[in-house]
Symmetry: C2
Subunit: 459 residues, 2 copies
């Protein structure tokens, strides 16, 4: 917000070592804006700024930085600052950082934590990768059914400081088993002597600590919650997950989908930060696989070399025809992949989709076929390129387009179903994958129709 505006002045103040002025400037900034300013600065100046921030603000600002900036900063900071910051970070953001560090660095950092924070960090890292346990924070408040609203509010006032959020208060029994969740509003709008047992409906939604993170995303979307409790296999409450962490998971999953649709393995890192080597490797694998598949087009073309020899003009339309099949196929597969990701289309809908796609394919193929026929037939009045059989040639191309587009839409829409049925990720049926699949069959359709229609005239 103000980051870009003030950056030059800030850098001047740093150069002039005017620390008291800097301290005043930063006192008013929200941590998110501080984070935005800091990433623009060289790491030595980042370290200076962190030393000037109050301990708590420093911890929160650090959480807003991306993991790579965090890593660089930790290496550049003195041990004392590192200790302050990693002890101040909230447990879920700390897990996200530790996940990305090499094991030796993790051991080193964990040693710098206070005994209490160390136990928390280690417990969280023990949960499997991509599980809800890695997203959660164990800082929450739980009260008992027998308490009144007044007792609850007193308890919050005394112990609420460390809780990540007070928007939801949990009710547990004496063994820590989750009984209910109450939105803070339920408590705040009730008379002070209302017993908690009167508020709760014993009706809650919880995640299990070993659930996949994608389950968490779906549960959040379904129930429109900001926070969800996490329980272990005995129903004992162990933490909470907040919606901001879930949005990150959602964006990551969508990015993977999009990258797969584009025919690459998921990059895992932001584009500019992905090292060239791994970028090339991730793209080369798919590109080579597709290339090997596409080699079958050369075999198909070989097979029809005799026809091409007799009527070279047939070769002229090959790119037009196979690309139309590929385009209609990638339209269809992309629509279905996204609809599946949003839960709009399930496996059992395949027949509905098939019907819809057959109809769409016929319409689209008909439109392209008409365009293709017009181009060939009408141009033949102005050029001799198509020879005397331009009407038949036009018909050949038109029927081929109808067939190829129909086949493209059917193949493109059914492939995601097939992959999902086989337990694979539907997004793997990328636009290039579908195009490759359709190319070979497109050639066969083309030359078969040509042989049938043009035998005795051009062939």
């Amino acid at each position: 917000m103000f980051g870009n505006l003030l950056e030059p002045e800030i850098r001047e103040l740093i150069a002039a070592k005017n620390f008291s002025a800097l301290r005043d400037v930063f006192a008013e900034w929200p941590p998110a804006d501080l984070g935005e300013l800091i990433v623009e600065l060289p790491v030595t100046e980042q370290v200076v700024i962190f030393r000037l921030l109050p301990r708590e603000v420093a911890g929160e600002t650090f959480e807003y930085l991306d993991i790579d900036t965090q890593k660089a900063l930790l290496q550049a900071m003195g041990q004392e600052d590192v200790v302050a910051i990693i002890n101040e970070m909230s447990p879920d953001d700390r897990t996200a950082l530790l996940e990305e560090l090499p094991p030796a660095a993790v051991t080193q950092l964990i040693r710098l934590l206070s005994p209490e924070e160390r136990a928390v960090a280690q417990a969280l890292l023990n949960y499997p990768e991509d599980s809800v346990g890695r997203l959660m924070t164990p800082n929450f408040l739980a009260v008992r059914s027998a308490w009144t609203v007044r007792e609850t509010l007193d308890f919050i006032r005394e112990y609420g400081e460390d809780s990540e959020t007070l928007n939801v208060i949990y009710v547990t029994d004496e063994r820590g088993k989750l009984i209910d969740d109450m939105r803070i509003r339920e408590i705040l709008i009730r008379p002070l002597d209302t017993p908690v047992s009167e508020i709760h409906d014993l009706n809650f939604v919880a995640l299990t600590v070993t659930d996949a993170q994608e389950t968490a995303v779906e549960t959040f979307k379904k129930y429109d919650r900001n926070t969800l409790p996490v329980v272990d296999s005995n129903g004992v409450m162990v933490g909470i997950v907040t919606v901001d962490d879930v949005i990150d998971v959602l964006e990551e999953a969508t990015t993977e989908d999009i990258q797969k649709i584009g025919g690459t393995e998921a990059l895992d890192d932001p584009y500019l930060e992905t090292p060239l080597r791994s970028m090339v490797r991730k793209r080369a694998v798919w590109l080579s696989v597709l290339f090997l598949g596409e080699m079958m087009t050369a075999s198909a073309m070989h097979f029809f070399e005799g026809e091409i020899q007799k009527a070279v003009v047939l070769a002229v339309f090959v790119p037009l025809i196979i690309s139309s099949g590929g385009n209609s196929g990638s339209q269809a597969s992309t629509l279905i992949i996204r609809a599946m990701a949003l839960g709009e289309v399930a496996l059992r809908d395949w027949w509905n989709v098939m019907k819809k796609e057959i109809f769409s394919g016929l319409c689209l193929g008909g439109i392209l076929g008409a365009l293709g026929f017009s181009r060939i037939y009408f141009w033949s009045f102005f050029t001799s390129a198509y020879g005397e059989h331009s009407f038949l040639l036009g018909l050949t191309v038109a029927f081929t387009l109808l067939g190829v587009v129909l086949w493209g839409t059917i193949a493109g829409s059914m492939l995601p179903f097939l992959l999902k049925r086989l337990g694979a990720d539907p997004a793997t049926s990328s636009a290039p994958f579908v195009a490759t699949l359709v190319d070979v069959t497109g050639l066969i359709i083309y030359f078969t129709i040509a042989t049938a229609l043009l035998r005795g005239t051009m062939l």
Copy 2:
């Protein structure tokens, strides 16, 4: 959750008109699960269930239904039920419904609202489409700086009932101007006689009512908030936006991006609910544009018909070559489009991206070139298909692949920048669009290299 499990029993109870049993069953269900059950039932049974729900639960359950189910239900319900439900809905969800209805139906529904709710609904509908105003709800609580924590809590207890959330309490001056936002935790952990003025830091993040909804998404992501206040142009607070509505906007924007990447206009409705006509229209437009562009390949092929006549084997590799260019181009464009959507790559990064893509393109082109050369050269020992000049033919294909893949990655990665620079949506540079662009140039590269390398031998 329990929806699928119980559906048959529920339907039996409905058939048996056992309403008291139904009422008991539903009393325990969260509205999200009720919503999930209801969409599975025929509309007549949906109406029955809604009559059985307590008024408040009915309103909330209705909000969980998709817009189409909502529309069907409103038509099937008696006027009395409609009145109950639309008066009970929260203003933001009601706006989302009204947006999708024909004007006559909107007028009719608005007439059924209580005078108070009617004023609210009309005010919200007056904001421009896709603006923050259409997302917000005017139900929030604001307190004054001079109050104490105790007075604030008393105020909340008395007037908090109607507020959409109590997670954040706002501080306004006597003219309604927003002064600060306080998370409820800031209030709850302070001693009761703390003045509000001591809590607030006069440092808040707010949306403006005319902001684009995408601005709201970015602000939520940047500041990790669950709720943001909305002010008018004078800084007067007029409503709040909650994160669940913003997730919906985010998903919609991503869906549009993905559909464009796949080479379709955005569908706007879920796949299965999009009418065939509009589905075909939205796909036909792009497919026809691409087809017209692709016709240039026919012209290019015509231009080289003499070469093909002399060496038909050249035609054999055309599909392989143009598809490799298309695939590498759609990889590049997809990666860049997504990186732009996530804010990882900005316009000014174009040169960094270009450098990275030139290097990637050379590597990827080299790999495919080597694969292509091997295939032609080594197979020539086993087949006579490539004639005596298989080494030169192999070199031609290899150099062409290098050139085509390099060109594909450069074109694919730069097109989104160009589109963005021109003020268009980068996602328009869909995989099929890039492929079409690369196909024509790919042919020219191929035949130019062939003419140079094979003159005097095959040509």
